[in-house]
């Protein structure tokens, strides 16, 4: 039990450090949020002004916005480590690698949640979707999606952090992996917004949760090797 507590403390310390650096520096947070909002705005232009079409596409657009902006966010939390040899320091810590992964994934998930908190109201306003009645289910979907995306994104950020052309490679590796997450999250969001006429909501939420668990285990299990190299 003490190891678990110790690991949780380490994870918390790492997540807290990154959060603090963002809060104090305000380097990436504002621009990432702006980028996400801009993506939603451009989807509106791309799909035309028909309100029905936009409302129908809203769940998909919301999640595409989250995924695109989320890529910037999870990449960012590893990029900061490349400055001033911070990554070497991080790998020198005599702690369980899984706790480092957990900390990075936690701050990534938090960033995704922030993005969700911005994008869901924005979708409601821009695409004229009534989200208020579905808010609890939507919140649950966003939480599950945020955890899954952060689990995958953090792992691949660890893969690409020391790689050439990592800005291209991170999305290239993450996007096909998160395809089932995107699918399940969009389906769950659609079901939540339409009042779930086919009763499929539990299945999609279960799939999301399953994805989260599997990817967290896979990420935690392999992330340590990436730091060793």
């Amino acid at each position: 039990m003490t190891t678990l507590r110790r690991n949780a403390t380490v994870a918390w310390a790492i997540a807290r450090k990154d959060a603090l650096a963002e809060v104090r520096g305000k380097q990436a947070a504002v621009s990432t949020l702006t980028f996400a909002a801009l993506v939603l705005l451009l989807f509106g232009f791309a799909l035309g002004s028909d309100p029905r079409r936009l409302a129908d596409a809203a769940p998909g657009l919301l999640w595409l916005g989250l995924v695109f902006a989320g890529l910037l966010a999870v990449g960012r939390f590893h990029e900061v480590e490349t400055e001033d040899g911070a990554l070497e320091q991080l790998t020198l810590y005599p702690v369980d690698r899984r706790s480092i992964y957990a900390g990075k994934a936690a701050i990534g998930a938090l960033a995704m949640l922030l993005l969700g908190a911005l994008l869901v109201p924005l979708v409601a306003i821009l695409y004229a979707v009534d989200v208020v009645h579905a808010l609890p289910v939507l919140a649950l979907t966003v939480v599950l999606g945020a955890i899954g995306f952060a689990a995958v994104g953090t792992f691949y950020a660890g893969v690409t952090v020391r790689m050439r052309a990592r800005e291209v490679m991170l999305p290239l590796l993450v996007l096909p992996i998160v395809a089932p997450l995107l699918l399940a999250a969009v389906k769950a969001t659609t079901a939540a917004l339409t009042g779930d006429p086919f009763g499929e909501l539990p299945a999609w939420l279960t799939l999301l949760a399953g994805f989260d668990v599997v990817m967290l285990i896979a990420g935690a299990g392999t992330y340590g090797f990436l730091l060793e190299e």
């Binding site: 490349t82 040899g85 990554l87 070497e88 995958v152 792992f155 691949y156 893969v159 690409t160 020391r162 790689m163 050439r164 052309a165 490679m169 290239l172 590796l173 996007l175 096909p176 992996i177 395809a179 089932p180 699918l183 399940a184 299945a203 999609w204 799939l207 399953g210 994805f211 599997v214 990817m215 896979a218 990420g219 392999t222 992330y223 090797f225 990436l226 060793e228 190299e229």
Partner: protein
């Protein structure tokens, strides 16, 4: 020499299975000649999944044993897997156009899964090219290959829930094969093509593995040369002591 014989046998087997599939077997009652695409299509798809299974196992082998031969198996398998995945998708589209009327059917779980499979392993190969250090490349690749392999069943599972119209699996449902609707000739054509393709795959694997080993040896040789020239320059000109023998070729962390 043995590999050459295997290659010859594989080539003959593919030719024989192709001829049998084209001329030996009668056309399908419903789909006509288009159904003949199924023989190489199913065989390619089988090899695609086999390849990526082997890639994942090679990655695990590297992580446990730290022997670069496992990584050579992994890269050989991934490259050949990408080839057969592309073949499977291409064959599927050629079949879908006359039978379904479209090249691409979004509701089909296996087509969608296979497309993502291609994307996953093209990414795998691309990231290999961006790592110059063999050890680092092997570790990264092992991790990437493992997570991709873990993701695949979820991908498959999730797209199945879209409700597909793909034909139910031919092989994982044995009653289908023995069903009178599938006469012995059809089974023979498919099994023959599967065997021929698998032989060809084995030959490709051996050759690509040998190539991977040769590439590695060359990399090592260049590395050794760099180290030697660096130490020579240090001996020759003691003041130029900045060169570090054995430093990774890859850009600084």
């Amino acid at each position: 020499m043995k590999t050459r014989i295997l290659g010859g046998i594989a080539l003959l087997a593919v030719i024989a299975a192709t001829l049998y599939g084209l001329f030996g077997v009668p056309p399908d009652a419903n789909q006509g000649d288009a159904q003949r695409i199924m023989y190489p299509h199913v065989s390619s798809a089988w090899l695609a999944y086999l390849s990526f299974g082997v890639t994942a196992l090679g990655g695990i082998g590297w992580l446990i044993r730290r022997d670069l031969r496992f990584d050579a198996v992994a890269v050989a398998s991934a490259e050949i897997g990408v080839l057969f995945t592309a073949l499977a998708i291409w064959g599927g589209m050629m079949w879908a156009r006359p039978v379904w009327g479209v090249f691409w059917q979004w509701e089909d779980p296996r087509l969608t899964t296979t497309a993502l499979l291609l994307a996953l392993y093209v990414g795998y190969l691309l990231q290999r090219r961006l790592s110059d250090d063999p050890i680092r490349r092997a570790t990264r690749s092992a991790a990437v290959g493992l997570v991709a392999a873990v993701d695949l069943p979820i991908v498959h599972f999730s797209v199945i829930w879209w409700r597909g119209l793909h034909q139910t699996p031919t092989f994982l449902a044995p009653d289908k094969i023995l069903h009178p609707a599938a006469p012995l000739q059809f089974v023979l054509a498919l099994v023959g093509m599967l065997t021929a393709f698998t032989l060809a795959w084995t030959w490709l694997m051996i050759r690509r593995y040998q190539l991977a080993r040769a590439e590695l040896a060359q990399e090592e040789a260049i590395r050794g040369e760099l180290i030697r020239s660096a130490s020579r320059s240090v001996v020759g000109a003691p003041e130029a002591g900045g060169a570090q023998p054995g430093a990774p070729v890859e850009a600084t962390r």
